[in-house]
């Protein structure tokens, strides 16, 4: 009784106001974007990749495959192996280089009487390296994206089937993956590329057929956990068919895993394209890809290093951007990772 005097009953005047949620509710994708934004490197990488892809697309209209492959047989010696020249007095970018037979640096453009500036220089046939790299980047990106798309389709289906059915199907499918992973990827890619013959299509297929393993593993593991969850049970009880559950309920729930895996697959596909070119199983000359540009210029390394370093740098930058974005996305999809 006495206690009631010590306390004053305040009461809740406005229930609605205290219960109001002031923070806007975020959908899954909004919160992923919110977390991704905090990772500056990932965001920069994302814009870089968007810019590069846009450049590759737009350049299709400007720089055609033919214009990058053509060269003037008569003026070959005049235009060949010109170092990069920006037209501005920037060191290493001023068109100065050594000519065969002397060690002094001179403006090769003046000496050869070339009045045009090649921003990235020319190759040993006098073709603009800028154009070659543009086309090469386009082809390499196309090969990588196409291979990854096949990968995605095949790897996800394989993983879903393996995880969903379980039992002996799972055992057989997993043993098959183990056998595939017992042979080094390079060997598998090489054998497949030899089997399919040369051409962009066969390279894409060869890369796709070796890269799906990682995706299949990830999807299988996710399927194994997800299929025990209540929403799958609910869908089953409602009489949904297996494929419908898989693509309507399971796949959206593992979207994060799949996207991150794709970000890892693309750079590896870009790399394998280059590797195939280096062992003469890549796209056929005169078509340029980053890989063929690198392997063709290998003999020139000592005298004309820019011919190999420029496509190499682009290849590394693109791979780096994909990996950084992949890292960022992995953290963004998995909030637990950020807390640590």
């Amino acid at each position: 009784m006495e206690a009631s005097q010590d306390f004053e009953l305040v009461g809740i005047e406005n229930v609605a106001a205290t219960e109001k949620i002031n923070k806007p509710t975020l959908t899954f994708w909004q919160s992923v974007w919110h977390r991704l934004k905090k990772n500056k490197l990932a965001v920069i990488s994302m814009y870089f990749l968007i810019a590069i892809s846009a450049f590759a697309l737009v350049s299709t209209a400007v720089v055609s495959q033919n214009s990058a492959n053509q060269f003037n047989t008569n003026a070959g010696s005049k235009y060949k192996n010109l170092p990069p020249k920006s037209g501005l007095p920037i060191p290493f970018w001023d068109g100065n280089g050594t000519v065969l037979g002397s060690t002094d640096k001179v403006d090769v453009y003046e000496k050869n009487g070339v009045d045009k500036n090649f921003i990235l220089g020319t190759d040993n046939l006098g073709r603009s390296l800028g154009k070659r790299v543009t086309v090469g980047l386009r082809i390499s990106l196309f090969v990588a994206l196409a291979a990854t798309a096949i990968d995605l389709l095949f790897g996800v289906s394989y993983g879903l089937v393996s995880g969903w059915f379980g039992g002996w199907i799972d055992t057989v499918l997993q043993r098959f993956i183990e056998i595939i992973s017992a042979i080094p990827t390079l060997v598998v890619v090489t054998l497949l590329a030899m089997l399919f013959g040369s051409g962009i299509g066969s390279i894409i297929l060869a890369i796709a057929l070796t890269n799906w393993v990682g995706m299949a593993r990830q999807v299988r593991n996710q399927t194994l956990t997800l299929k025990e969850r209540d929403f799958v049970l609910a869908a089953k009880t409602l009489g949904e068919s297996g494929p419908k559950i898989a693509f309507k309920h399971l796949v959206p729930n593992m979207a994060g895993t799949i996207i991150v895996q794709v970000m890892m697959t693309i750079p590896s596909a870009i790399m394998f394209e280059a590797v195939l070119s280096a062992i003469n199983l890549g796209v056929k000359a005169p078509t340029a890809s980053l890989g063929t540009l690198i392997s063709d210029a290998q003999q020139m390394l000592q005298y004309y290093p820019y011919q190999i370093l420029i496509p190499s740098a682009i290849l590394v930058l693109v791979s780096l951007a994909f990996i950084l974005l992949g890292d960022g996305l992995r953290d963004a999809f998995d909030p637990k990772m950020l807390d640590e």
Binding site: E178, I179, S181, A182, I183, P184, T185, L186, V187, T190, L191, M194, L195, G197, P267, M271, A274, V275, A278, I279, N280, L281, I294, Q298, L301, Q302, P305, I308, L309, S312, L315, V316, S319, L320, F322, I323, L324, D327, E340
Partner: protein, 305 residues
Amino acid sequence: MARYILKRALILIITMWIVVTATFFLMQILPGTPYNNPKLTQSAIDQLNATYGLDKPVLVQYWDYLINLLHGDLGTSFQYQNQSVSTLIGQRLPISAQLGFQALVVGVLLGLWFGAVSARNQNKKLDGFLGVISTLGISTPSFILAIVLLFVFGYQLDWLPISGWGDSFSQTILPTLALAVTPMAITTRFVRSEMIEVLHSDYIQLARAKGIGEDQVIQKHAYRNSMIPILTLIGPLTAGLLTGSTLVENIFSIPGIGQQFVSSIPTKDYPVIMGTTIVYALMLMVMILITDILTAIVDPRVRLQ
């Protein structure tokens, strides 16, 4: 333990048999013949086919190949006349093995060190710097790194020899470095996340609560437990090294099996391609087997599975 090893060895043999069978029949359907010389008459080709046993039915050839394989005979090279593939690979294998081993040791040791330093300085500048290094290392294929190293230290600075093998140790430095960066980068990232997880676990809290110094906590408790999962990395790292070494050997003119593999592709030297594939697969599987056994010895929970 013995049962575990026996079971794993049996799986290895079965997998090897499947790999051999798959490569053999793949070679049968591959287009082209090793006879590129247009001057060869049909009778000469028939004679060559008879010498190499290529005129027999495919299944008989397959059986012969399997039997010969059990005797360590991988057939005769088309490219190098009368050289057996086993001899060719046998001469080159030690070179590739040495290169791969050096790269693995350098890469993993650096990775262990960098990863541990990164984890201890989590979210500090040093961690960020090592993070940049390892991400760059992952996105740079070893053959591009080989080219850059060759250019900088071989041509520009002229510090190290640019090609060859076996004359001096300095010849091995550039190719080893080129190959070591990918394992280094992967190990660094793996060790870092592994160590961070361990540092947050209960027994580390307990160790700290007991009042042991932070250095002791790291050395006695954190290191040991984060080392176990790293063993599982050795398999994938070896696979990556095998891929990288073929091109790196080619760039530095190292007479290893990788270079031989690359040179046998344009000449359609199928016995060499098959032999190399089998040797590669065997090397990779033995590596994985060894690490699995080591893991089982270190971590008893694995054996029960």
